[in-house]
Amino acid sequence: MAVLDIKGVSKFFGSAVRAVDDFDLTVGNGELVCLLGPSGSGKSTLLRMIGGFETPSAGSITIDGDEVIHLPPERRPTGMVFQSHALWTHMNVFKNLAFGLKLRRLPADEIRRKVEDVLKLVGLTGYGTRQTHQLSGGQQQRVALARSLVLEPKILLLDEPFASLDQHLRERLREEVRDIQQRMGITTLFVTHGQDEALSMADRIVVMRDGRIEQVAAPDMLYREPATPFVAGFIGTMNLIEGEVKGGKFVRASFSHPLPIADGPAIFAVRPEALAIAPATGEGAARIHRVTDYGTHGLVDLELPDGTRHKAMVSEARDWKAGQPVTLAPRAFAAYRDNAVAYRSSTAS
């Protein structure tokens, strides 16, 4: 129903700190975009600027073509769900949901109908008369979501809404939120630092680092073709081996592999599941440091002679033991130079 357009948005705190630095992003109608990054990457600051809680130092934010930067939060067509549920504890559930509607001077019966509808939507039919402290953490966060949804915002903003919930509840709620978002077709921006959350919910993921975009991509592409070593290391597990290319060969300590790029420093990236190992006669390329058995598969910690550690996935943990010398055979890999992809093997994992 709405398109969010962010252009050249920056936020400086003082002269030294650039929380968000020249940020561009367009979120399409009905799309759910996740802002993913470590703490301090500027993702919450960006979300709060869209909601109107922070003023950008530069740039423009438009919703359906209308500039919103000069509007206070109470006049923006956005709805925000906060990390802590932020319910008004002196009001019951119904009053929490009806508050915004009353401010819009809707008739009482319409308010009642809308509140009941949204309670049904979040699976809390009949909870209207409960006090907020009588609800579980998950229910409270559902009410917070309903409080935003009931006002039918053009843009829904979620700021790590599940951070305070336990793992099990988090998984259930993210499915529910995704269902509701898709059913309503509401344009949504979701901030998280958990890659599972981003990968399971988002249409597109924006990986942020130090206030800048590292990569924007669909979840599967992000995993398969990370654009930078940072994304490669942040999404899933990736062995990032720093070394030198000499004469078409990547070398790091006893590990070497053909790499058809010009000579110079490079980072060799290979995921554990794409790194095959075989028992070596003699020294081998690496030595097994530890073997962990997960039942379905095993994970082997490898140590290069210079002490750096890397991981390889094996189908049967019992076949391997610590101290054993092995050879390394990457099945699919990529190489980075100057913070960009320099080479990607054709059979990318």
Binding site: F53, E74, G79, S84, A86, W88, T89, H90, G100, L103
Partner: protein, 293 residues
């Protein structure tokens, strides 16, 4: 059977823990009993069992009847209630904006404002009183400034009922601000931002989101102010009019200058009666707060 020694030890440590707890509580409880409860009971008894001409003690409500039929005493009580109510209202009106500012402002200025708001806590009333005369008294600093600006002199509040009001308000600002700030501390930024987000403007946020959440603190602040002001002595004594006078100076004068302990104690019991009503407000709000948790 092998478990029983262990459970004995647990039992013993629990018992001694309980005993230590009791001992810790005993000191304040005994002090309250000795220095507060006993004098109250003694005061009530002293004022109700009076010595008659024959030297025997008989039950009599005479001192209370005198107090409540004596126009002079009632005028003093009336002035005390008036001062208390006016001070409490002004305190809330003055301190709520300060507390709101301190809760939501950031930066260096807020630190200075906070320091300034807490400052009266460190100024003894007697010093405040004389400073008041110098500043707001006749030909005081304010008059000098007004005169320099070719404006007429003010009608000085010194020696009028407004003198103690101004002094007491100034004196009680720190405590009131601190209590209100404590209340505002429990109002999360997120809950206020959520209100902004659903479209509430500043006034709506204050009225529907912030004030209901700190209603308890307001009640506590008002109770503290009322309790402190009702029995105030120094400021009404130095700054107030000779008559009517507030209960504090009235009691002191009756006791010390009129050598009339029964009537002084009667005045004290009456004052205590009014204060206990506000004390109950405070207790009620504390209990309600604990239940809500």
């Amino acid at each position: 059977m092998s478990l029983s020694p262990t459970s004995d030890i647990v039992g013993a440590s629990k018992k001694s823990g309980g005993l230590i707890g009791l001992l810790l509580v005993a000191v304040p409880v005994l002090l309250i009993g000795w220095m507060i409860i006993y004098p109250i009971i003694a005061a009530v008894i002293t004022t109700l069992w009076l010595r008659n001409d024959a030297g025997a003690y008989v039950f009599s409500t005479q001192t209370y009847r005198f107090f409540f039929t004596d126009g002079y005493s009632l005028a003093n009580l009336g002035l005390t209630l008036w001062t208390t109510v006016v001070c409490a209202i002004i305190l809330l009106v003055v301190c709520l904006p300060i507390a709101l500012y301190l809760r939501f402002a950031t930066g260096r200025l807020a630190v200075y404002v906070q320091g300034l708001a807490i400052f009266p806590l460190f100024v003894p009333s007697i010093i405040l009183s004389y400073a008041f005369i110098r500043v707001l008294g006749p030909n005081g600093m304010l008059d000098i400034l007004l005169n320099a600006a070719h404006l007429p002199k003010i009608r000085s509040p010194y020696l009028t009922p407004w003198g103690p009001v101004i002094g007491l308000v100034w004196d009680h600002i720190p405590l009131t601000v601190l209590i209100l700030m404590a209340g505002l501390g429990s109002v999360s930024d997120a809950s206020i931002e959520a209100a902004k987000d659903v479209g509430a403007g500043p006034v709506t946020r204050l009225w529907y989101i912030i004030l209901p959440r700190i209603s308890n603190s307001i009640l506590v602040a008002a109770s503290f102010a009322v309790l402190g002001i009702f029995s105030a002595f120094t400021l009404p004594y130095v700054l107030g009019p000779a008559a009517p006078e507030m209960m504090g100076p009235f009691m002191q004068r009756t006791f010390r200058d009129l050598y009339d302990p029964p009537n002084a104690i009667t005045q004290a019991v009456v004052s205590f009666g009014f204060c206990i009503v506000f004390g109950l407000f405070y207790v009620r709000s504390v209990v309600r707060n604990q239940r809500a948790r």
